[in-house]
């Protein structure tokens, strides 16, 4: 996944991509740390290896985005203490501490990945190559993670539908609320800790993106993943209706 020539972009567009790449690198590093933390939840070496491989995979994605930033001539901020990402990380670690593997799987594979996949595909559709290709390829790989997790989650739902849905609802309120705040029209904090200057949300139009569409695509994928798992539609609808906007 090496990059070739830096695409021809204005300084303003480059600046937007710098902020997008900051989100992407940081998000992948959070994913890496989450998978690494999940390793301790498994007794089975095969599951431990799987978790470590996932972490390595996310690390590879972070490296690819980091390199893309260098090729673009910008700096991607890597800040694991960034407001929203740190809140997500703390929530995740809470579930690791409680040894709740199912919760970890739902947060990482359903919630975080649905946001990542939809965002990467959206950026991949507008960014000039080679940047666009990087986002598209990583988006496709992340989508594979989701497919893999769905089978496992379907089995959990089969075993106890009401209990499973109640758990996902609680996780939704905890984690999706943070992700929704991240893409909300109004920020709850002065800065997310990843933009170089002003909040990038207002400048997304410079590269052919817009906040509302990104949010819509992410919600659409999230709901479709829940549908595939078998969560009842009326339940997930009520959950998304109460997300912050």
């Amino acid at each position: 996944m090496t990059t070739a020539q830096a695409p021809s972009l204005t300084d303003q567009q480059r600046s937007v991509y710098a902020d997008i790449l900051s989100q992407a690198v940081t998000g992948e590093l959070i994913g890496m740390a989450n998978y690494a933390a999940m390793c301790q939840l498994f007794d089975n070496p095969a599951d431990q290896i799987d978790s470590v491989e996932h972490a390595a995979n996310e690390c590879g994605h972070a490296a690819a985005f980091r390199q893309a930033a260098i090729d673009l001539g910008v700096v991607a901020i890597e800040n694991l203490e960034a407001h929203y990402w740190n809140k997500i990380r703390q929530a995740f670690l809470g579930h690791v501490a409680r040894r709740d593997t199912l919760a970890c799987l739902v947060v990482q594979e359903v919630m975080l990945e649905s946001f990542a996949v939809s965002m990467y595909h959206a950026v991949g559709a507008v960014a000039p190559d080679p940047l666009g290709t990087i986002f598209r390829e990583i988006g496709d790989e992340e989508e594979g993670h989701v497919d893999h997790a769905i089978e496992e989650l379907q089995a959990a739902l089969h075993a106890d539908r009401d209990g499973f849905e109640a758990k996902v609802e609680q996780l939704h309120d905890e984690v999706m609320t943070i992700l929704a705040e991240m893409v909300a029209a109004r920020d709850t904090v002065p800065t997310c800790g990843l933009c170089h200057g002003e909040c990038v949300k207002g400048s997304l139009g410079l590269v052919g993106l817009d906040r509302a569409t990104l949010r819509g695509q992410a919600l659409n994928l999230y709901l479709r993943i829940l549908d595939r798992i078998g969560v009842r539609g009326e339940r997930s609808l009520a959950w998304v209706a109460r997300l912050p906007t």
Binding site: Q154, G216, R224, R232, E234, T245
Partner: protein, 373 residues
């Protein structure tokens, strides 16, 4: 949203519904009210532009679990209401492909719910009427148009009698007269009214339909000037596919009967006393229709309970009758005999005309009309 077809293959079956009602909402204020109702008490009010930016992204899904009973009680059937989340803006855009994708995704949800019969209400019936893309799901689909037509012709008959219009002498205009429902109503009404005038956008189809009805000796003509025809009409039935009301009903003579069965509505009635206007094609299930969570009632608000659009009620009726068949499909297949057949079935299971109402509420001093089969 290209992965939606693949989704159903890998998706878990959710329920054991017997029927599915597939529909969409008519206007933004209605959608906004639903969204507000879904949010917890005390949440910040969502502005309409935010709602408009989110709702189109919601994938078609079950929003309510519904039960219906025959009257007198013979059977109960359970099912689901699936909203396609096709928005008024999407309808107005005229871009068919994404809308059809939503209808097909909704059909996938119906299959996943285990439904044996599904009705495609409002715009979604276009898939069956125009045979746009094969529905491959293992269940029967019906547009519900035959029961809608039955409710319309019996509704007009009952309302006309109530306000003193003699239908056999009346001048009746059907707006949308060549559509599936409009043409079905025309065939049934032609021998029963004084003069029938059909209005339609497709002139070729209009001439052909009028020609066929005239062959049987009925007084049927094509409308050439809609305003002039409405200005002389005793009865106007509006049943055209429109994205917003655009037929001026204010020019109808005082005392005329106006029946609007459009979805979205066809008639502009601002400034008029709505005494003789009713929303047609509505029926009531005397045995009761109820949703487990009150969501169906939130999505479809009517002045009285147990009321629904004919297109939706047809699937309920067919489920109660255990006739899992595509009763209404294609365009132009609604014959008087089929209308009479569904009407008999409706009466067997306690389905009847809804009390007459419009946007201002129930007709005053109206009781449930009784109409002979």
């Amino acid at each position: 949203m290209g992965g939606q077809v693949a989704d159903v293959i890998q998706s878990e079956r959710v329920g054991e519904a017997e029927f599915a009602l597939i529909g969409h909402q008519e206007n933004w204020p209605q959608i906004a009210e639903i969204v507000r109702g879904l949010r917890p008490l005390g949440s910040a009010e969502l502005p309409l532009d935010e709602i408009r930016s989110i709702v189109p992204w919601i994938p078609p899904r079950t929003v309510s679990r519904v039960r219906v009973e025959s009257y007198p009680r013979q059977r109960e059937a359970a099912g689901v209401y699936i909203d396609t989340f096709i928005t008024p803006d999407e309808l107005a855009s005229g871009t068919l492909r994404p809308l059809l994708a939503k209808v097909h995704a909704a059909a996938d949800v119906a299959a996943r719910e285990g439904a044996r019969i599904a009705s495609l209400g409002g715009f979604t019936s276009i898939v069956l009427e125009r045979a746009l893309g094969e529905l491959r799901q293992p269940l029967a689909f019906t547009t519900g148009n035959t029961l809608t037509a039955a409710l319309l012709v019996h509704g007009i008959t009952a309302a006309a009698a109530k306000i003193g219009i003699t239908l056999a002498e009346a001048d009746v205009v059907i707006v949308g007269g060549t559509g599936d429902i409009g043409s079905g109503c025309a065939r049934w009404l032609a021998p029963r009214v004084g003069r029938l005038q059909l209005a339609a956008r497709h002139h070729g189809r209009l001439a052909a339909d009028v020609g066929r009805l005239r062959v049987t000796g009925h007084n049927v003509t094509a409308v050439t000037d809609l305003n002039a025809s409405i200005g002389r009409a005793d009865v106007v039935l509006a049943v055209a596919s429109m994205v917003a009301p655009s037929v001026d009903a204010g020019i109808a003579p005082s005392g005329a009967l106006l029946c609007d069965a459009g979805y979205p509505k066809n008639l502009i009635v601002a400034g008029r006393e709505p005494r003789h206007i009713f929303w047609g094609g509505m029926g009531v299930a005397r045995g009761g229709i109820r949703s487990d969570d009150g969501m169906l009632e939130r999505f479809y608000r009517f002045p009285v309970t147990n009321v629904g659009h004919g297109c939706m009620l047809e699937a309920l009726l067919l489920a109660l009758a255990q006739r899992y068949e595509p009763f209404s499909t294609g365009r132009g297949n609604i014959t008087p005999a089929r209308i009479d057949e569904i009407w008999r079935l409706a009466q067997e299971h306690g389905f009847a005309l809804a009390p007459f109402f419009n946007g201002s509420g129930l007709w005053r001093a109206t009781t449930m009309p009784t109409v002979a089969a």
